[in-house]
Symmetry: C2
Subunit: 401 residues, 2 copies
Amino acid sequence: MSSNVPIAHGDITAPTPQNTPLTHAPIAAGLSRPTVPDISEDNEPAEDESEDPAQITGAQAAMLGLVQGRLADLVGKSSGYIESLPIDVKKSVEALKGVQVKQNELQNQYKRECLELEKKYLELQLPLYERRNAIISGAAQATAEEIEAGSQASLKDDPLYTPLPSDEAAPAAIPEFWLTALRNHVGLSEIITERDASALKNLTDIRLSYLPSDSPKPGFKISFIFSPNDYFENDVLDKTYLYQEEVGYTGDFVYDHAIGTEIKWKEDKDLTKEFEIKKQRNKNTNRTRLVRKARPTDSFFNFFSPPVPPPENEDEEKLEMDYQIGEDLKEKIIPRAIDYFTGKALEYDVMDEDEDDFDELDDEDEDGQFDDEDSDSEVELPRRRGPPKGRGWLECRCCQP
Amino acid sequence: MSSNVPIAHGDITAPTPQNTPLTHAPIAAGLSRPTVPDISEDNEPAEDESEDPAQITGAQAAMLGLVQGRLADLVGKSSGYIESLPIDVKKSVEALKGVQVKQNELQNQYKRECLELEKKYLELQLPLYERRNAIISGAAQATAEEIEAGSQASLKDDPLYTPLPSDEAAPAAIPEFWLTALRNHVGLSEIITERDASALKNLTDIRLSYLPSDSPKPGFKISFIFSPNDYFENDVLDKTYLYQEEVGYTGDFVYDHAIGTEIKWKEDKDLTKEFEIKKQRNKNTNRTRLVRKARPTDSFFNFFSPPVPPPENEDEEKLEMDYQIGEDLKEKIIPRAIDYFTGKALEYDVMDEDEDDFDELDDEDEDGQFDDEDSDSEVELPRRRGPPKGRGWLECRCCQP
């Protein structure tokens, strides 16, 4: 294992920018994550068995009962209470709803200002992104100051790190920088096929931009910049994510839909298709011929043909995944490309993800025990959506021999 | 069920501010959630069996193997790649780390500006919070406009809602407003005992404020305002959450610790203690006497004696819960108190929470099946921390007869 990809050995340390996992907080850029449009499943075809109540497992049924009970109990309780109030008090309650409308308007205004702040800081980051790109492409040479600052950062991560000599370097492009960075993202690594990789070697930059403030829907665009290659004619592949004009219940933006650039594949180079050669016999002449049939196949480049949003499409999972990849590119990979290239970010991502799984196993056990006890004395908070529970024991062990 | 607590019946509708669940996005106020300090568990006493590798279940062991394999594979891959690069390319990589340091500084500056924006909008909300409080306390009468706006909001939620006559009302305090709101929060409802409820009937407001910009650590304060009551002398109970000065790896604030007001309990009224009467016999005189022994008990008011942060305290779960309650008060209950009072917010909270549980059951099944297939073609994205997957089928069914 390289010395610049340190794995902490479980000492008790205060969190610092160096030892705090990358994905601790859900939103790297401070703006709440947009939400996904609701998909109702009432009209789903009956053959979708996962939706069939008859297919509910015992655990699910128990949980369903619990929720129904709690809902009926709690919602019922508050409703009954309100109905029992004198008319003037009911009017006070109604007036509070009116005040809440004004509070919501302010909250929406706040969210829009958050988006503007996000845009402002992207502008401020752009010169650094350009500098990064110049170093990656070999258009500019690394300065002694940059190398020195990088060595200092490496030493902060790992006190045993051996710094490089920080004299100025000759311009030296970093081969396959973006392909390596993408492949060090847990989710993307699994949708990039070997065939995709050959094309992605020509990926020279990934850039973020926002739609102009006067565009009908707000949103952002991720641009993949390619050098001339054997696969397609485009030099830029864009993926644009659009929000709905109206913000959601919490004042957060809601995803509307995404648009991808149409890829102009060179002949026989479409990576999103697999070709089969089939024999066909002409019924009249009885002669056979070979026919090539194309069928869709898994490929990273399907990212540029995003799924259609509901109500036309009810494959919520596909849609979620598409939005998730967009968010991860925007919030994690573009801002911290070097950490994905070196694998530093991946280390945190993997930890984070699997720790959560362990927590849930524990939670289930505990819940099972707690049910029999006095419910007054037990605390059952909603599942935490925010930061995970720090770096757990997994990390301490998996780096041991 | 009251007509103003509608439960959607699963029609396909576009998300609007009215039908989008309250907790869709993790951060209502746009600033990333602070993270919890890391707690290493290497030094834990051996009797904590949940940490003992010998206690790992089959599923955990399988997962552990998976993580170790993936880490070794992926981190190893990128590291080896970097080590194989020529010295000048290595210098380019090192320089990128140096550029990243500057990017991080900008990101930190951005986060601080987000906090200032949050403060600015709290200031803008304050007149509305004051107006809300005047209506709740009966100090002011609801205006016809407010009642009308409230009725419009209710009608948007439920077209069958019967509006109240919107002529001006006499001032009419809403009894137990804040107690009802707190009890409609899933987590808090379970830590508020019946004894606590008697005291919380005197809770007249919950207020949010930020620590001044020049205070040594940034943070926020939640103030519970009480009318004179039989339980304690204080008229305000504060809970203050402090962030560490240095922001974390992602540029998000990290919780440092919390401070609570010391409650001056009136005699025999300490709700955080239970008293036992025990007989004691004097060995010399052989006379018995009755002795009262106090022992700690569950109570909402323990919230004002927050757990000590690590490294002194390693009960991560307690600490998490304390931070979680603070966040929910700040991000959900204070901004949307009326929705908690009516139960509208609770409806979303419960849905949200339990839907997640179902998703995870599904995920596990799928993972089990996918393992046997070609891994190239499968997508396994990190667990989504952001918005949950919309409103699921649970909602469609639990409101059916």
